[in-house]
């Protein structure tokens, strides 16, 4: 059984032209790292929050989200609390905003242990100090008494990670865990997350706009565009032969991890801008920005996710564009 399973999840907000999420299917198994990649506004954060029952207020929700077999859509407070305090937890993007600035680090870390598990102060503090050591902070006892403003962004993100681990979850949802940090800290945080994931055999859903980062740590990658999954594949395959023009575009527009010998890679931006919630398209959402879009087909009908080898691709041209894509949209020099 999958640890986290989305089945045809759709979320619509009243007054918007298109749904925020449109038929999301996604699974994360125990011990697996899965990335969900896309531009801002593609719905990746909404997807991750849905796993904890944090739906947008006033939204129409359809489909299923199951965490360790427990249905989240329509779940009552008790079921939600059991997921949130036990099975799954989330690491948010900006620790400076995500940790209450007027309370001590110790309060942040021990709150759920004391309130939800009923631990006494000493036991909860000991556990919090253990966790701070586990995320590589030098002086746990002192940090427990400090306020968030006394710590750097990278240290605070470690605190956030420690906070997510207090309940001993099996599923970790990471919503852009390094975006708010500076570059050198980003690598440290990813290393900490990777180590903890291996040590504790956690299932992990990594939300990021950085496809190179996703490639570096993940087993499988889902690519999301305008509320839909447009491609999913094992990392190596997605990187080697991206089948969806959007995936190819993402790869072409982000700097490669290692520049090979010879001239530096040229970045090819994707033309146009992502589709907002007030826009909708009768066909493929990406058609308007797609170089290979075929008039009369792509702008008419919505492509369904179909299997091509190990990948699932939602593109009318998935089969035929394979060869042409290699020539047009991938980076020079790779």
């Amino acid at each position: 059984m999958a640890l986290l399973e989305y089945e045809n999840l759709s979320i619509a907000l009243p007054g918007m032209a298109r749904p925020v999420l449109d038929g999301i299917d996604l699974t994360v198994s125990a011990g697996e790292i899965v990335a969900l990649v896309g531009e801002s506004g593609s719905g990746k954060s909404v997807t991750a929050r849905s796993a904890l029952g944090l739906f947008p207020t006033g939204a129409d929700i359809d489909g299923h989200v199951r965490v360790d077999g427990t249905e989240v859509v329509g779940a009552g407070p008790a079921a939600l609390r059991s997921i949130r305090t036990g099975t799954a937890s989330m690491i948010f993007q900006d620790p400076r905003a995500g940790i209450n600035p007027v309370r001590r680090i110790g309060d942040f870390l021990t709150e759920s242990l004391r309130v939800s598990n009923g631990w006494d102060k000493g036991r909860a503090n000991a556990r919090a100090a253990e966790l701070l050591a586990a995320v590589g902070l030098p002086d746990p006892e002192r940090h427990l008494r400090q306020y968030p403003y006394e710590l750097s962004g990278g240290m605070l993100q470690r605190v956030m990670i420690a906070g997510a681990l207090t309940a001993g979850p099996r599923l970790l949802l990471c919503d852009e865990p390094t975006t708010a940090l500076d570059v050198s800290t980003q690598a440290e945080i990813m290393a900490v997350l990777g180590r903890l994931q291996r040590e504790r055999d956690l299932g992990m859903l990594l939300i990021t706009h950085d496809i190179e980062l996703a490639a570096a740590v993940c087993d499988r990658i889902y690519v999301m565009y305008a509320g839909r999954i447009v491609e999913s594949a094992p990392t190596a395959q997605l990187f080697g032969t991206p089948r969806h023009p959007y995936t190819a575009g993402l790869l072409g527009s982000s700097p490669p991890l290692r520049a090979p010998d010879g001239p530096p890679a040229r970045l090819v931006p994707i033309p146009g801008s992502p589709m907002g919630l007030l826009d909708s398209a009768p066909g493929c959402s990406f058609a308007a920005r797609c170089r290979s879009a075929r008039p009369g087909v792509c702008d008419r009908t919505v492509p369904r996710l179909e299997r091509h080898g190990e990948a699932l691709v939602a593109c009318h041209l998935a089969e035929e564009s394979l060869t042409s894509m290699d020539n047009t949209a991938t980076r020079e020099g790779s």
Binding site: R81, T85, N100, E111, Y147, Y149
Partner: protein, 322 residues
């Protein structure tokens, strides 16, 4: 320098600032009454006919003929020793005239402060948590009406409805004995606090709404923290700053508004004393009360500044980094 030393120095400099403020105020108060039209000497002989000689004699006896700065210096020296002079009307020490009326006024202010802190804040919390619902719109309507209702209008309405028509509360006087006094203070306290309650409700609601939208609140929810714990520890706790500041400043300014309410309900207190003293040109009493009003304001401000670092530790950090 250690944080404690810095805090202590900060407190000392605030105290010096308070003293300076009070000194300037005392000068302004004294000089404005000195410049005010009307001759206290002619008031003192009211009802009797007095020739110029007799007036001059009175002026000399009361020191009215001394130069301005000499009079100010004498008065200030007295004030520093707790001697506020003698009331021309009561022929008593100003200190004891005020002192005897202070308890009933403090009771009135305390009751109003309680109403503000409990009813005002609670209404604000309900409004924020029920945002956009019918309850919220009703509250906001009441707040608008309440904020626009002057204390004397509220006093008249409350008296005629709950005092005269329903007869639930007495409409005049201070009462005797603890329970009777409390019974007498209910309507005046409501009249005094209506406007302030409305303001505190509004501040509480908007401050709560601002905190409700914070990401750390979502983080707390995502960790399965029970709703009321989230509201208490992460929303209300963080919203306290503006609520405490505004409530404290409103309460510290209430002494002035008591003059209206105490007069409307025929209560004896510092507020009604201020009104009669102004009417009867009892300058010594007016001076002392105005000084008291300013002192209350300055002291409450000081206390708010002391409390703020406890509410938001970042304030303390910014203070010691300065």
């Amino acid at each position: 320098m250690s944080r404690t030393t810095t805090r202590a120095l900060g407190v000392l400099s605030r105290l010096a600032g308070m003293a300076a403020t009070l000194l300037v105020t005392s000068f302004l108060v004294f000089s404005s009454l000195y410049l005010a039209p009307g001759d206290p000497a002619s008031f003192l002989v009211r009802g009797r006919s007095a020739g110029p000689d007799e007036l001059a004699q009175i002026r000399h006896r009361y020191g009215f003929d001394e130069p301005f700065f000499v009079r100010y210096w004498d008065w200030l020296g007295g004030v520093l020793h707790g001697d506020f002079g003698r009331s021309y009307v009561f022929h008593q020490d100003v200190g004891s005239v005020i002192w005897s009326r202070l308890p009933s006024t403090l009771l009135l202010i305390a009751a109003s402060a309680l109403l503000i802190a409990v009813v005002g804040v609670a209404a604000g919390i309900v409004g924020a948590l029920r945002r956009g619902t019918r309850t919220d719109s009703m509250l906001m309507l009441l707040v608008t009406v309440g904020a626009a209702a002057p204390a004397f209008v509220a006093a008249l309405l409350l008296r005629s409805l709950f005092g005269v028509k329903l007869g639930w509360f007495p409409t005049i006087g201070n009462g005797t004995g603890v329970l009777d006094r409390l019974h007498h203070v209910v309507l005046p306290a409501i009249a005094l606090s209506v406007t302030f309650m409305a303001m505190v409700t509004r501040v509480t609601r908007s401050s709560m709404l601002e905190e409700l939208g914070r990401e750390h609140v979502e983080v707390a929810v995502s960790r399965g923290t029970p709703r009321w714990t989230v509201i208490r520890r992460h929303v209300l706790r963080n919203a306290l700053g503006p609520i405490v500041t505004v409530s404290a400043l409103l309460v510290s300014g209430m002494l002035v508004s008591t003059s209206i309410v105490e007069t409307a309900f025929g209560m004896s207190g510092v507020g009604s004393l201020l009104v009669t003293s102004v009417n009867q040109m009892d300058f010594q009493v007016v001076q002392a009360i105005v000084l008291l009003v300013v002192a209350a304001f300055v002291v409450v401000n000081f206390l708010v500044d002391l409390v703020h670092p406890l509410i938001d530790p970042r304030v303390a950090a910014a203070g010691s980094a300065r």
